[in-house]
């Protein structure tokens, strides 16, 4: 079998140069990791993990004015086993810590975490006995969105940053 490409005037294996050129305009090739990253970042489905006030802004981000589903998050799944992203929206109390870790463990790879709000990022206004001072003590966080609560636009910006991160690193099988 020959590996020569056909040239105008000389067909190879019954395929003419015109046909090859037409094919090159209809077929896209890319590395598998880039295709995976593209698919993953454009269809991130978060798990419903709204805890406190940030949850309300997260709900506002899913509502019609800010509309997170135009970025791919069509639904917020109730089950962690069906979701890719955990947006920790709100303060994590000592009692909730093990629950958060369990939900995170129940998610399937690849998974990401956005720490939304000051309480999830670092304990926020509350530096006391009752709260876990930052959810990164429990789960690895990919994006921190600051604010108390962050505006829905801020959450969307954090979401876009996560998409950028997945573009760069998220194509592993």
């Amino acid at each position: 079998m020959s590996t020569e490409l056909p040239v105008p005037g000389r067909a190879v294996g019954g395929v003419t140069a015109d046909e090859v050129e037409g094919l090159q305009r209809q077929v896209l090739t890319a590395r598998a990791s880039r295709i995976l990253a593209w698919a993953r970042r454009n269809s991130i489905w978060p798990v419903q993990f709204g805890l406190a006030c940030c949850a309300i802004e997260m709900m506002a981000a899913t509502a019609s004015r800010f509309d997170i589903s135009r970025f791919g998050s069509e639904v917020f799944r109730a089950s962690p086993r069906q979701s890719d992203l955990m947006i920790v929206a709100g303060r994590v109390s000592q009692k909730m810590g093990p629950v958060l870790r369990r939900i995170y463990d129940q998610m399937l790879e690849p998974k990401w975490v956005i720490a939304m709000g000051d309480c999830a990022s670092c304990g926020g206004v509350f530096n006391n006995y009752a709260l876990v001072q930052g959810v990164d003590k429990l789960v690895p966080v990919d994006v921190y969105v600051a604010g108390c609560p962050p505006r829905p636009e801020a959450l969307l910006y954090g979401f876009l940053e996560l998409q950028e991160k997945i573009r760069r690193t998220g194509g592993r099988l």
Binding site: A52, C53, C148
Partner: protein
């Protein structure tokens, strides 16, 4: 002959659940689909507000109330601030009180819209969630225009407000109030005339009046069972006695009554807002007492005393007299009260937040006894639970 044993199924409706409106855990004991007992397990959002507020001055503490009740933030701020004002025996000027009423009623409408949207989406009426949140965004725009923040405003001050309303607030509010009845009627058409909604809500989660009183319920739950208690009417605060409005009552104490009450409360809130806008007095928005509120900036260049007052208030805070007060407001969930104990220092000795959702949730097992699992969702939605309130 073999003996037949009966077993009940213990089902955990865990802290992470789409229909628990927050981090509420219910341990249900089921016989088939019938609920024999429901045990709420709370504390998953406990933040230590009461301890935290003992370590800050009275002015610094204004930050915390909106994070307790994050859906009716203006109401919560007023609840705290008016308790401090009662302790100090300081009354904010009339204009500040009227503006507080307007913002509180807007907050109430916003909270009821969230309740309506989330209750509907629990029963899979997804479009209503979008409608109510879009309308709520208009109210949040107003809040942002006044305070700079959509949710955690920090706008109320001991003795008044942070600053006066912007110029376009009144016309924008009037425009929104023009639009509100049409939208609320639209929501009502989508729900009240909806057979599925009626079947799911009527006769479900019934709470008798004596149970409601025994469990210390307040707000639409109590009024749904027919007990006429609204803090705005019983213990008027912030000039509510100047306004005419009705307090809707229910008859059967089921989820449908609470739904109609909340819809009607939105209309009554609109009536209060329009009355307040019509009669909004002029004048200052903070009390003139230099021991309590900061002097205006232009005074600082002229008066040494003003500088000293400013310095003392900012670096130390005021010292209320020794004593205790309890001041309550009518939040969308019921009676929200702040019990402040002062020992004369610049920090409160004890801040107790009387949370309506805490008592209302205790009545949940009674509401859904012998109900179905599907009714639990409706019952929780009809309580309008707010976990920040329950757990503090």
């Amino acid at each position: 002959m073999s003996s037949v044993a009966r077993e009940t199924l213990t089902l955990n409706m865990g802290p992470q659940h789409p229909a628990t409106h927050g981090v509420l855990r219910l341990v249900l004991e089921l016989e088939g689909e019938v609920i024999l007992s429901a045990r709420p397990v709370i504390g998953y959002l406990h933040t230590g507000f009461e301890k935290e507020m003992e370590t800050r001055t009275y002015h610094q503490n204004i930050v915390f109330p909106p994070r307790v009740e994050y859906l009716a933030t203006m109401i919560e701020e007023v609840a705290y601030v008016q308790a401090v004002e009662k302790l100090l025996a300081v009354a904010p000027p009339k204009r500040a009180q009227y503006i507080r009423v307007i913002l509180m009623e807007l907050s109430r409408i916003a909270s009821h819209l969230v309740w309506l949207g989330t209750s509907a989406i629990d029963l899979n009426i997804t479009s209503l969630f979008m409608y109510t949140f879009a309308l709520r965004e208009r109210i949040l725009d107003l809040f942002e225009a006044v305070t700079g923040q959509r949710m955690m405003h920090g706008y109320m001050r001991v003795g008044g407000l942070q600053w006066d309303l912007p110029e376009d607030f009144i016309p924008r509010t009037r425009a929104l109030m023009e639009e509100l009845p049409g939208r609320v009627d639209e929501f009502e058409t989508l729900l009240t005339d909806n057979l599925i909604w009626r079947e799911r809500l009527e006769g479900v989660a019934i709470l008798t009046a004596e149970d409601a009183v025994g469990y210390g319920c307040s707000g639409p739950i109590l009024r749904g069972s027919g007990v006429n208690y609204d803090v705005r009417k019983a213990f008027p605060y912030s000039s509510y006695e100047d306004f005419t409005f009705d307090v809707p009552l229910g008859r059967r104490g089921d989820a449908f009554d609470r739904y109609t009450i909340r819809l009607e409360e939105m209309r009554q809130s609109r009536a209060i807002i329009l009355q307040a806008l019509d009669r909004l007095p002029g004048g200052p928005v903070t009390v003139d007492d230099r021991k309590v509120s900061l002097p205006p900036r232009r005074e600082l260049v002229r008066s040494m005393e003003a500088v000293i007052h400013q310095f003392k208030l900012v670096s130390e805070g005021f010292h209320p007299p020794r004593g205790e007060v309890y001041a309550a407001v009518e939040s969308p969930r019921g009676e929200k009260g702040y019990y402040l104990v002062s020992d004369g220092s610049n920090r409160p000795a004890r801040v107790r937040i009387r949370a309506p959702s805490f008592s209302n949730l205790a009545a949940l097992p009674v509401m859904i006894f012998r109900g179905f699992i599907a009714d639990v969702v409706v019952a929780i939605a009809s309580i309008d639970i707010l976990l920040g309130d329950v757990d503090r």
